[in-house]
């Protein structure tokens, strides 16, 4: 066969193959939805997508959840330049500025998600997520932090298993009382049961940032969120209080294992975490005898908690095609409706973002969900510009204290300077 002939055949074959692919996709609108992999969330979303597709026969939603939580930003970054990726994406609320900065998200269409509608229907922390005059994302569910305690461990230590620590002082006493060491040495090498494990890489950096700083009388950030103000005397007192669990009281260490894993496995007495941990416990250790309470009040008698949420936004990719944009908006409306929130709270354990659904009596009176729901009233969310690096700053501060022997106040000063630099760099480019 002649070379040119062979080449011509190959070219024609490729052309037809690609035309066929385009033609096949034209009957229904296909949109892609991405979220990170978390068993209960994936299951709940599969059900929501199924319901949505039945109600909207012309739309097909491709659900990509094969992305580990830790790699989510990386996967998005790899997909965007390739021109592929989600039309509707579920992202952490703290990433909104970075995504908006890059022009990756488009504002929610005013006619379907007006400011009035959002202010009226959603939890206050969602309403506060306005960035540069627009709303860019809307969640199905929100969560807050609360105190988890292991009833068996408290009982074994001679404490009342039904009354968890209500103040920070009681928290320290209970943590010390429930820590057990092998032998006489009081060091982390001989801890066999942890009272409390300070883990800045998990939820404790939120606890410190939005709760402890305030309870010790410090202000974490300026009103506009652009100036770090926690490196005060009061802030240092809060940080020292949290760091002391490992350095002074020796009630636990993340070097023994992840703090949340240790609690789920029944090896830790006290733990601060979000409502999403309920599902983990249900799946991995259903027999764990634990309780949930609102976070302990601080020295100033104030109650605070940290509120956060994974939220859904519409991407530039969907915006490029009117049919896909329309489908994406419909999908977004569906998964943020009160029924979706109710389904979500039952399957995932996160509270509905729609205030009416969250204030349901069944949720408020639920012994496990109730404390989280109560917390929504006094929850603060941080205006992150680079959540991963801002978290790292506090992890490093804690490592400097526990591993490097640095004075907590110096470590906090260093952290504040590093975090201020991150914030300044972000705003300098805008």
């Amino acid at each position: 066969m002649r070379l040119s002939k062979l080449l011509a055949i190959v070219m024609v074959a490729i052309l037809f193959a690609s035309l066929g692919a385009v033609a096949g996709a034209q009957d229904t609108v296909e949109i892609e939805y991405w979220q990170y992999n978390f068993g209960a969330r994936v299951y709940a979303m599969d059900i929501l997508i199924g319901l949505f597709e039945v109600a909207n026969p012309g739309i097909k939603v491709v659900h990509n959840s094969d992305i580990p939580h830790a790699n989510f930003t990386q996967e998005i970054a790899a997909s965007a330049p390739a021109g592929v990726g989600p039309d509707v994406v579920t992202l952490f609320y703290g990433w909104i500025p970075a995504y908006v900065d890059a022009g990756y998200l488009v504002p929610l269409p005013e006619d379907h998600f007006s400011e009035e509608f959002i202010l009226e229907t959603f939890s206050p922390m969602v309403a506060n997520s306005k960035f540069e005059g627009s709303y860019w994302a809307i969640p199905t569910a929100v969560r807050s932090l609360a105190l988890f305690w292991n009833k068996d461990i408290l009982a074994d230590a001679g404490l009342d298993p039904e009354s968890p620590p209500a103040t920070l002082d009681e928290f320290v006493e209970a943590a010390i009382a429930t820590t057990i060491y092998d032998g006489d040495e009081k060091d982390i090498y001989s801890i066999s049961q942890q009272g409390h494990t300070t883990a800045l890489a998990e939820q404790d950096h939120h606890w410190l940032r939005e709760v402890l700083f305030r309870q010790f009388g410090a202000t974490p950030y300026s009103e506009d969120g652009r100036t770090v103000t926690y490196n005060s005397e009061e802030g240092c007192a809060a940080f020292s209080w949290l760091a002391a669990f490992e350095t002074e009281h020796v009630t636990g260490s993340i070097d023994i294992g992840d703090a949340s894993d240790a609690f789920v496995n029944g090896e830790t007495a006290l733990h601060v975490d979000g409502s999403f941990r309920i599902g983990t416990i249900r799946n991995n250790n259903p027999d764990l005898n634990y309780g949930v309470a609102e976070l302990p009040v601080g020295p100033n008698g104030e109650q605070h908690t940290f509120g956060s949420y994974w939220t859904h936004g519409i991407t530039r990719r969907a915006n490029d095609d009117p049919a896909r944009l329309e489908a994406a908006v419909k999908f977004l409306q569906f998964i943020t409706s009160p029924p979706a929130g109710t389904l979500w709270v039952n399957l995932v354990g996160e509270l509905p973002a729609q205030a009416t659904a969250a204030a349901d009596d069944r949720i408020l009176s639920d012994p496990v969900l109730g404390p989280f729901s109560a917390g929504l009233a006094y929850a603060h969310s941080t205006a992150f510009v680079n959540e991963v690096e801002q978290r790292q700053v506090l992890i490093d501060a804690f490592d400097n204290v526990r591993l490097g022997g640095m004075d907590p106040c110096d470590a906090l000063d260093e952290a504040a300077a590093a975090e201020q630099e991150l914030i300044d760099n972000f705003w300098a480019d805008r």
């Binding site: 990386q74 970054a77 890059a102 990756y104 890489a201 690096e389 480019d429």
Partner: protein, 316 residues
């Protein structure tokens, strides 16, 4: 081949249909060979060149526009290298430590073990397999096992130390010990490969040299110093270059062995490649990350050229 080349030239004036069978075969061979070349160019060379281009832009992978910034990213790299405390400085410092400590220790150990293995006959295959197995095992799996072995309370190493009444060690949780702890795993894992190369090199050395040396009454040390070592030079050069490059590119073990995979505690195990990854895909500073890559590329190129020019002199 010579014949076919001549055919090729001769048939220039003839149309394709008049090509000889031999010539057609060659053309087909080149067509098939073009596939890997095109693939290689697209997968390796194009991204490499693209990295150079990205390094001159404020490149955010999520954004539509990537503004040109000239050499600003490089200025930032060198500025941070000069700072007392910066991730960039820590990354380069650690990477150099990995190479300077890792390569000599690994090659010395591998050479020593290869010499031993070369002597034994009984169970020699079993030993070879044992030393080679880590090399073919998944790095991530090994790194996680080591992470557990280093664990402060239940980890095997500290349990053994305790049994011997020795002070327990922080290993990965200490900014001072973390780097050597990661290094130990990498040295052990890559050693199997070096041993195999050394064994092959040893087999190449004619036995007659050793017999002659024995007749002359040379000591074991002298035999090693004047026969084995010089004749192993090609293997040593090869391994030196290859292992240096692999240590310079270290990534996976650090990700698997440190908290959140970020090269801690306090950046004490951070490598350049991990820093690049965090900047590019974590903070979306792909332009800055690309300029780090280019600097690393220059470093690898420089190290390789220096090593080749110094060590290959004595090959013959």
């Amino acid at each position: 081949m010579a014949v076919s080349m001549r055919n090729l030239q001769k048939s220039k004036k003839y149309p394709i249909s008049r090509w000889t069978l031999a010539r057609k075969k060659i053309v087909w061979a080149y067509i098939f060979l073009a596939i890997p070349i095109v693939f290689f160019a697209y997968i390796r060379i194009y991204p490499t060149l693209f990295a150079f281009q990205m390094s001159l832009h404020d490149y955010n992978p999520l954004a539509v526009e990537q503004p040109f910034v000239g050499f600003q990213n490089y200025e930032k790299v060198f500025e941070e290298l000069g700072e007392e405390k910066s991730k960039t400085k820590a990354a380069f410092q650690n990477t150099i430590n990995y190479v300077v400590l890792g390569v000599p220790i690994q090659l010395c150990l591998a050479l020593f073990i290869a010499l031993m293995l070369n002597e034994i006959r009984f169970m020699s295959t079993v030993y070879r397999i044992l030393f080679f197995l880590p090399f073919v095992t998944s790095t991530i799996a090994i790194a996680w096992v080591f992470r557990m072995l280093y664990q402060p309370r239940f980890g095997l190493f500290n349990v053994v130390l305790q049994l011997l009444s020795l002070p327990q060690q922080p290993f990965l949780r200490s900014p001072q010990q973390a780097l050597p702890s990661v290094l130990a795993l990498v040295i052990w894992q890559g050693m199997g490969f070096a041993i195999i190369i050394f064994l092959a090199g040893l087999k190449q050395i004619p036995r007659t040299y050793y017999e002659a040396a024995e007749v002359d009454g040379a000591s074991r040390w002298h035999t090693f110093r004047y026969i084995t070592f010089p004749l192993l030079n090609p293997s040593i050069v090869y391994l030196l270059v290859l292992q240096s490059i692999s240590f310079l590119r270290m990534f996976a073990p650090v990700v698997a062995m440190t908290q959140l995979g970020r090269g801690g505690p306090l950046d004490s195990t951070l490598t350049v490649v991990l820093h690049v990854y965090n900047e590019a895909f974590g903070s979306y500073n792909m332009g800055f990350a690309s300029s780090l890559t280019v600097v690393l590329f220059a470093l690898i190129l420089g190290v390789t050229i220096i090593q080749l020019s110094i060590t290959s002199r004595r090959i013959n």
